[in-house]
């Protein structure tokens, strides 16, 4: 997981994403966009714009690809920090 951010936030695996856009349509705050870039399979993958996620989980539940979307919610403790 990358350095940044305030919880909650989604993390989308650009290589697993098949670019179906269901998450973009389902996001209530419009913080997911389709990248102009292509992934290794030739799909324009979905990306988080970096802020504005409210942690509703819509993108996770609408995504048909089991490991493409992960949503880190408020209160999440990264595993390396769990002692």
């Amino acid at each position: 997981m990358s350095e940044h951010r305030e919880y909650p936030f989604p993390e989308i695996d650009p290589d697993i994403c098949k670019g179906c856009r269901l998450c973009v349509a389902a996001c209530p705050t419009d913080v997911l966009v389709i990248s102009p870039k292509l992934n290794s399979k030739g799909f324009h993958y979905s990306e988080y714009v970096g802020q504005g996620c409210i942690g509703c989980g819509n993108c996770f539940y609408v995504c048909p690809e089991p490991s493409a979307v992960t949503v880190y919610l408020k209160g999440y403790v990264p595993e390396e920090e769990v002692s």
Partner: protein, 479 residues
């Protein structure tokens, strides 16, 4: 359960899809925007949350979700088209503590499996059926399904489904809710987020019912098939909302989950000794074997192979029947394509003194190859020092292996010389008798009348002669 702080790939899924062939073991085979992935995720999440991954058994259907077993980290069975509820019944009865999840599409459940689902529902089998309704046959290229909407264009209804010729879309929830036994019958839809969350709740309730042994739960989910519908995924969600919901309204048709009592069925017999007793195993062990004193083999695992129409199957059946008359344990297992003649065919035959386990001969000690492709294919799987008999009328290239005992026999030529190509199988039987020493050709002739009951005396005589020819050819040329 504590509030989740992360939503990630549920533990109900296998971490790396190791059973999936090819390189892409980190993703599903589903098309972009396919509803199956969403429904899989809802099931896998429930399995993790309820901590039942280990005791669940997912029954995969035929359809795009035929490979559901690539993904779920549960027990998995992939079953014949439409038969998921029947196999689920067996699993549930044999192991009442397991959580049986039957996963089926509309072609599988509502067409070929229509009777299976009604009977399982009517018996109140303890399972949850997840019925994925996308109004089309997705995997085979978008043909009309029982649930295809009136007017909907598919590859087999290019002008739209017409009730006059094609009937009306089958409403499975409505049908099943007519039955007395089911405890929970509901229809949900993936067309928007509230719909997906309701589908999640319904799947969890159905699984909970199965865990509590409350009986039969039926959860229909209206799902997108963007490829089959020729739409973008988001557009496909809108199509569910605008078109499917009218014929397939969401809602709960039956819910007696709270009142339902735990089902207790007779405990199945699982003790191997008891099963043997019931099956009469002891009587199977008594032998009436008339072993031929000249037998060179006491155990034959034979593969007979060639074109359909070359007497492949009848060679196998004849040998198994003769073996049975001698008191051997025998099995015959055919394998062939859908065509009656001309395709490739082969059969496995076992003739042995002890009880037979598997009927398929994966490591035969004898092969009868009637044509070149069969020789090439089955020569390879013969055990070292095995017997290879082949039809030298049609096969001109010699076998490549040097460790085999090889018997080139002009089977087709000999049969033709007798005036009927169809007696090839009897030439094979005679040659088999000579090579193995297991059967006496005179006795085989005596058995002909029972094998060919109802045929004319002339046919029986011709077959007897063919057996004798095959027997003599081996005796004269190979001893």
């Amino acid at each position: 359960m504590a509030q989740k702080t992360v939503l990630r790939k549920p533990k109900g899924f296998i971490d790396v899809y190791k059973y999936k062939p090819g390189e892409e073991k980190d993703r599903t085979h589903y098309c972009p925007g396919c509803g199956h992935g969403i429904i899989h995720k809802l099931i896998a999440e429930a399995l993790e949350d309820f901590d039942i991954v280990e005791k669940s058994i997912v029954i995969s259907p035929v359809g795009c979700s035929v490979f559901a077993y690539y993904y779920f980290d549960t027990g998995n069975l992939q079953v014949a088209h439409g038969r998921a509820p029947a196999v689920g019944t067996a699993v549930s009865r044999a192991n009442p503590d397991s959580v049986v999840i039957s996963y089926q599409g509309d072609g599988d459940l509502a067409a070929i499996g229509g009777n299976n689902i009604l009977q399982a529902a009517n018996r109140g089998e303890n399972m949850v059926v997840v019925f994925v309704n996308n109004a089309i046959y997705g995997m085979t290229g978008g043909q009309m399904a029982p649930t295809t909407l009136t007017g909907q264009k598919t590859t087999t209804t290019p002008y739209g489904r017409n009730p006059v010729t094609d009937g009306y879309p089958l409403q499975m929830c409505e049908l099943i809710s007519q039955l007395t036994a089911p405890v929970y019958v509901t229809r949900t839809s993936l067309h928007d987020m509230p719909g997906i969350r309701k589908a999640r709740a319904a799947i969890r309730k159905g699984i909970q019912n199965a865990m509590d042994r409350k009986g039969f739960s039926f959860v229909e989910v209206l799902s997108m098939c963007p490829s089959g519908w020729k739409m973008e995924p988001v557009q496909a969600q809108d199509w569910i909302r605008d078109r499917m919901l009218e014929r397939f309204p969401t809602g709960t048709f039956r819910d007696s989950s709270d009142e339902a009592v735990r089902i207790e069925r007779p405990v199945p017999v699982m003790d191997p000794e008891k099963v043997k007793e019931i099956l009469g195993y002891e009587s199977l062990k008594t032998s009436n074997l008339k072993k031929n004193p000249n037998a060179l083999f006491n155990k034959v695992a034979l593969r007979v192979a060639g074109f359909g129409g070359q007497g492949i199957m009848s060679t196998g059946i004849a040998l198994a029947n003769v073996g049975m008359e001698y008191g051997y344990k025998v099995s015959w297992l055919p394998s062939y394509g859908p065509e009656m003649r001309g395709g490739t065919a082969n059969c496995s035959v076992k003739v042995q003194e002890e009880t037979i386990g598997a009927a398929e001969c994966t490591e035969p000690n004898m092969v009868i190859a009637m044509n070149q492709p069969s020789l090439e294919k089955f020569e390879r799987i013969l055990v070292p020092d095995g017997v290879l008999m082949y039809n030298s009328t049609l096969i001109e290239v010699e076998p490549t292996r040097k460790d085999l005992r090889v018997y080139p026999i002009p089977v087709t030529g000999m049969a033709d010389a007798l005036g009927d190509t169809r007696v090839q199988s009897m030439v094979n039987v005679g040659a088999f008798a000579a090579i193995t020493g297991m059967f006496d050709p005179g006795e085989i002739s005596g058995l002909m009348s029972s094998l060919f009951g109802g045929k004319s005396e002339k046919v029986i005589q011709l077959n007897e002669e063919a057996v004798r020819k095959g027997y003599d050819y081996v005796r004269e040329n190979f001893s």
